[in-house]
Subunit: 315 residues, 2 copies
């Protein structure tokens, strides 16, 4: 089969090299992709509507991200094209989430900012008293693979883990202390010291967290999001930071993204922003490459693919 | 009994208030302490030799820190005065240690420094690929109460925990995967990706980690110390950072301390320094207050005190 990729310099794509029956075609732009579209059976991370319409033989698209917002779902459904996503980012994104939580709890961003001016902090420097995670409640909204890895880590700090997910009837490991449907969100928000927004970005989850939800939270709550910008409404978050409702936030994704240089979010000492880098890690690239190679072999053998995206639910 | 304290504004001391039979005496300076020394039975955190020599009735000193270097041990032994230390800092110091590890692993200090100049990092910005803790080996040198809390957390990230401690024959929890005597250090240093130096500061442990020990470590090791400055030799650490042997360090203690404004350690983007703040947390103050109150009651009832410091071993 012919697999269209954007580049061979991205390490996960290289895992396809050794698979008998796979032939690479490289297209670094959409125009190049459309030029070679006629023969293509599958693509890695190439999913524009114009390309898909030019590719009559296309049967499978493997995305290299977990979030797949922006894919032309209706067109894929109409054409019967399978869409698979990444699902290899659990350990590194859970590590990144815990980094945010511990930095915020231990007041480290505030300390580092002050050090830029006065180095070793003077005894009377009013840095708020650092905290500890033991005994605090973490709400994970959207318990998927990444959320489960986060829950496992957070529970070892003595946190109570409450979560929402679509299938509340499926069993959960013992470090998830409570599992609820998303409809219970209004009851769960007031209970959490920490809230990790981990749902996929869809029409249903855009602005999931807005003024009304912040109102329900307890004063001094901490917000985390590594999923997609726009699930938390940015203006509502700014208001909740200004009022003191939100004591701190860790964001690997923003809306807009990239966050403009003059955006007010940059100025909060209690907000940590990383540039959508939580998915990166050498081990994640290896896991992703193994998934891509495994799926390619399954495709050749007409076996069920792993990490299939539901084209109705769009995640 | 009369208990001498430096201040009542420090929260843990307040836990003594409700104990029948305890009378507070406040002395904010050593001169004041010596003036009232004749009647004092016990002190909180007051331990100068000049005071002790002026206090004939003194029988117990409760320190509010875990490390007790600087106490006149010989004088206490000669006089038969009991010394107890804090031992209330496990959860918050373990959190602080994990904050250092995750920040270093996820390249967050480097990202924050760059953001000060260019905000959202450009795609071609050469930040090294962030890592993950899963599968890495953590060596804890000196497995005490803080080290055990750290081990519990680190194991949930998929780390392998190897440790040294004085009593290797006593049982350890299953998240400590190997336990060795300190004599095995030379064999353990080459195996670790992360090294947490957690021994008390004594004549035996000053400069425990110097050029010879750094030579034994693997390239790219990460160093952590929240115990006391001077256990890691600062000049040797600077050499190991310059050579690339040490890929990053998280230090809550330094030598000298406070670290002078013009000290070279401030300039490394891969070194995180916090101002001896890992011991702080509201919950730790509560635990410490409960310990102080419990020990005061034990002292009144002539029961064995908790957290007794061995005056020979000096920790």
């Amino acid at each position: 089969m012919k697999v269209l990729v954007q580049t061979l310099s991205y390490r996960p794509n290289n895992f396809l090299k050794d698979i008998e029956g796979v032939e690479y075609v490289i297209a670094s732009t959409d125009e190049e992709a459309i030029r070679v579209a006629a023969d293509i059976d599958a693509t890695i991370n190439i999913c524009s509507a114009t390309f898909i319409e030019a590719a009559p033989k296309l049967r499978w698209i493997q995305m290299l991200s977990t979030g797949v917002n922006g894919v032309p779902f209706d067109l894929l459904r109409e054409r019967g094209i399978a869409l698979t996503n990444a699902g290899a980012y659990g350990p590194n994104m859970a590590d990144h989430t815990m980094a945010f939580m511990l930095m915020l709890s231990r007041q480290i961003p505030q300390i580092l900012r002050r050090q830029a001016k006065e180095r070793w902090l003077k005894k009377d420097t009013p840095i708020p008293d650092p905290g500890e995670l033991d005994g605090q409640t973490l709400l994970i909204i959207g318990l998927g693979g990444i959320g489960l890895e986060t829950a496992k880590r957070a529970a070892a700090f003595g946190m109570r883990i409450i979560a929402t997910r679509r299938h509340v009837d499926r069993p959960a490991p013992d470090y998830v202390h409570e599992l609820h449907p998303i409809e219970a969100l209004g009851d769960l928000l007031p209970r959490a010291n920490w809230i990790n927004v981990s749902v996929p970005y869809t029409a249903d989850t855009a602005d999931l967290i807005g003024d009304r939800e912040f109102d329900l939270m307890r004063d001094g709550v901490h917000m985390l999001c590594l999923a997609r910008g726009g699930i938390i409404n940015t203006d509502a978050l700014l208001r909740a930071l200004d009022s003191g409702k939100v004591a701190g936030a860790g964001l690997d994704v923003t809306d807009p993204e990239p966050l403009p240089d003059d955006h007010p979010l940059w100025d909060y000492p209690n907000v940590i922003i990383t540039p959508h880098s939580s998915g990166q890690s050498e081990a994640a690239h290896r896991r992703l490459g193994e998934l891509v190679a495994d799926n390619a072999q399954r495709f050749l053998l007409r076996q069920p693919l792993r990490n299939i995206v539901d084209l109705e639910l769009r995640y």
